[in-house]
Symmetry: D2
Subunit: 344 residues, 4 copies
């Protein structure tokens, strides 16, 4: 067993662990490295006692060694990063809501939606021009035409635009029209794309891959930062699990975890995260409660006629209700007595 | 049930399926498409006989339409169920917090914890007497001795007791001491145990299996209700995923989904759900925001010395902070303008 | 980074690793324990060079420490175990084939099947008396009546019987009728059941849980051995994955891995492992090619009328074809030239 | 496509769906059951418009019946495809073995390996020039320099070359040097790359994504065929599961399944599929037994010094032993009596 002390561990904390290792029936063996001290438990003792040291003061963890990412970590930059997109600040005190259709389908569809989501409180607009689709026979997006429609929507509403980029070859074109570029979940480990996006001056919305660990997600962000682009927002959009009633499983705790490990802002996508209209309001509330810096939500004038992602899109009234739900107190359901909670 | 015939199915094969559907107690209803024929089994017959047709000649596959659970569903009982345990009501307007150590380790450890969690606002006490452990060499619980200590804690604090039952042979004994019996995650599909618990007069806390779908979880509850025990509380405690930084992935959206599909109360276990002290406060808030009827949280006087689950246990001060966090508004982090949210 | 040397590592091998650690830019730091030497790489060097030492001579692994299981491991018992059931030896030179219906449904169904599988080469008979079913409304098995029918089949055919036990309360009764008791996949971590079965004189067939790691599976076996029952046969029956075209994903490599880590025999269940009649012959061949000590296969006189598991059951002719397939050479498909393969 | 109405659906809601089905180009066909109505969409129309009805009022869910892929399916082309690469035929009677290092590291390393694998019976050479790596700090490949070394190896040995392409921008360059282009597992759903590769004249080796279903894998191949490139070889390289002792879980049954569903050749990658030197021989045998058209295996002159994938690379002697293992009969372990197997 290896106990890995924190970089900030005091000598007193190290000695505490050394004593506990001895108590547990092992001989402690210290290796004082350049950055930190590790303590090996030699011999045969009571294993669980060493495992439990994971929560002793000054202990970072037991067995595992240093994380592989650097620039995205809070060890390198303890204060939280704020990413600014044309007046909108993600990672600051305000929860930012990005909304809009999955795909841009027509001028009317996008403009109507843009005005509606702005009225309801959204401060950025989403809309797909290039669509990653599992089948080649599905709608693949309007491409350049969609980018032009998005630009008009920004002119009319003032909402900054985020749209997905799927290929290095489209980067320059999309940069002319969008304020923020999205890397989709299936491209999270498209390293050629990440390396190219590391060299541009636009902020990036980096979605977590459907089967990626938080560590892999942060390493994908590390590609962007290490290549020179520090304006990165992480987005949890649900992971693949055995559940079949929902399209994905929203890993809300990963939002809190990513914010512990990294200084980058983290937002939530309850539309892809659940794939179900009926769950979006509740999941949005939970995401804000757990500390998300923002939400990205799919909205369509008539979801049952959407060319993509209809089942998880809200209509205008549904989106307005989600926004209202965010204003209600946490204890709408919880009637915990403040008196007892504060008594200890 | 829909039987989907292959594109190459012969008329003879189609007629064979039609006859078998009739034999199984259903009315067959054919839809002849341009490429293939589908046969619907209408009415109520013997479901497994239709499922078995998957291997009849000319059949591509069989698709179930209706949900397989009945008594737990909101179609059978639209209003929400409330489970009462000695004065505590789970499923009512109050969020119920159950707290206590993973394992009962000693009289002093449990009594100190019981008093501390009561002071902080918990209204039920948890504590393991019989422990399911992956390795036979890990601490297996104090058994009867633990049950007696739990009883003393109830006498001193008035908190009702919930403890895990692992075997049909222990049911009678545990019923003498506990107010509610917990079925652990790894026993969710221990059908012999479920059938036995369906016959007792005590409420059951049914944890979701680490790889179970929501449907399988509800079917496990159906074993209890169909056997006669309607006092069932569901508990989401995290599912197994590829993530390695957390012990499990807390499927918070499943709480909202289970409450949509079923009338049974649903609580959350952020301790097992994350396996990490540092995430419990945030996940508890999110669980309440998403509509959980309660929380079950592991608390230990000194987590780094706990005989089990130390890394996910809170000390007394940590638990009090979680309880305080539940009283803070949702918008501690979200500064969404009410004005815009209500404007649409 | 921690390099964990083998217990048998020579001084020369240790010095080799020490040099490689230095070459990689780290300072090596040795901890000579009571059983083995571990080598910490101190400082900051080229991480992948240490990872690659995983295959250096004398190195057991990098980072991870000792396995938690003991009695099942080949470190404790290097020679392979053979489990004998009434004349049948599992783990010896012969591949043992166990066959029979998922559930015992009637005297005629079982006896016909028993004779047919014996004719085709099976040397043991399977048949469920107590069935674990996801829904309480599905067929739950004939219980004692099924046990009596199984006994008759053994008297008529001489085939030893294996049947599933679901509860500690049924153990004594089943021991009167069966030659081997099966622990089903969903009960792999039913520790109360494992502890009870550790005390009986019958061999146990321990199925791997659908989401269990190989390590968890071996720890379940460790419950049996450490409790006194050494006659344990492991059975890989497929794990849960995202694949939807098959019921489970057959983890064939786990058979080779389990035989590397443990001395216990390991057999394969291609019926549950795929859930598809059409794949059973190919998967059976692959299981034998990878080193499985046996197969357990579901056979039914008329799969489309089976009360359970019809879609994955073979009829008598199908089973005979699987047996014939096992006699064909590996290179039925592979036409690799022996000349070139042996030239190096 | 089947639209499954809710039990509470009104007649008006049913009629709305009927109209929408007609608008989408299908003929609606109603089945009115005792509890609910289902509406089949018959003929060929716009699939996504039916999928979007999932959120129409009164609809429970929408179920797809037919497989979504076409050109890759055996319904369109029943006979097996053979892909020819400069004299090597994948999908014919011979099992093709492709071998070589994970990354091209130097002229000497690659040439030595090329000669060794040729001597042992390999008929194609693999070697990475552009490497997809989880961390930006890992070795990223030698790029053009590697391509030139690969070209020299082909000139010296006559072995055709396969190497990975990660970006649309590299396609033209790689086509100058390689005989076959590999799409790596993490790029299986990089649709921009697939669309570009559909237009070239070189065969493609399409690896299955680590969390992709067989259906998603075939749809990725459909992008290539529908875009004009019919020379596609599928490669199963292991999927992500909960197992931690192996890098991936080799889904060998998927090879048999993919060959049932599609006419494309399917090969196996036991190196990535297990991540463990010690399992490669056994898994290679199993892959051939289950019907794989070929193998791709990582070989390195000195695995413990490899810049990538050392733990799963074989040295020259190890690779020769794998090749010899493929020549041994299936029943090396299985001693099944032919007499009984053929008796039925």
């Amino acid at each position: 067993m290896i106990v890995n002390m924190s970089e900030k561990a005091t000598e007193e904390q190290i000695q505490h662990v050394v004593e506990r290792v001895r108590e547990a029936g092992y001989q402690p063996h210290l290796t004082r490295g350049t950055e930190r001290t590790i303590i090996a438990a030699v011999g045969s003792g009571r294993r669980h006692e060493i495992e439990a040291l994971q929560v002793a003061p000054g202990v970072d963890n037991v067995v595992a060694i240093a994380q592989p990412f650097k620039l995205v970590s809070r060890q390198v930059r303890p204060e939280r990063s704020v990413v600014r997109i044309d007046g909108v600040a993600i990672g600051g005190p305000e929860v930012v809501v990005i909304a809009g259709p999955c795909s841009v389908e027509s001028h009317e569809q996008l403009l109507d939606t843009a005005h509606a989501v702005k009225r309801a409180g959204a401060t950025m607009l989403r809309g797909g021009a290039y669509k990653p689709r599992t089948s080649p026979y599905d709608f693949q997006g309007l491409g350049l035409e969609a980018l032009k429609i998005l630009q008009q929507a920004r002119q009319e509403t003032g909402l900054p635009i985020v749209t997905e980029v799927m290929s290095t070859e489209d980067v320059d074109l999309i940069c002319e029209y969008a304020d923020m570029l999205q890397v989709g979940a299936r491209n999270m480990q498209n390293f050629a794309l990440l390396r190219r996006l590391a060299t541009i001056q636009k902020p990036i919305l980096l979605k977590r891959g459907p089967s990626a660990t938080v560590k892999e997600w942060l390493l994908a962000a590390e590609y962007l930062l290490s290549g020179g682009n520090h304006d990165v927002v992480l987005c949890e959009r649900g992971i693949k699990t055995f559940e079949t009633e929902m399209r994905n499983t929203m890993d809300l705790a990963a939002i809190a975890l990513a914010r512990d490990l990294s200084h980058l802002p983290v937002i939530a996508d309850p539309s892809h995260g659940t794939g179900k209209q009926s769950l979006i309001a509740a999941v949005s509330r939970a995401a804000v409660a757990i500390g998300a810096d923002g939400l990205i939500i799919e909205v369509h004038p008539c979801p049952e006629r959407a060319l993509s992602d209809g089942p998880q899109s809200l209509d205008f009234a549904g989106f307005a209700r989600v926004m209202e739900g965010l204003s209600e107190p946490l204890r709408r359901t919880a009637k915990i007595s403040l008196a007892t909670a504060q008594a200890i």
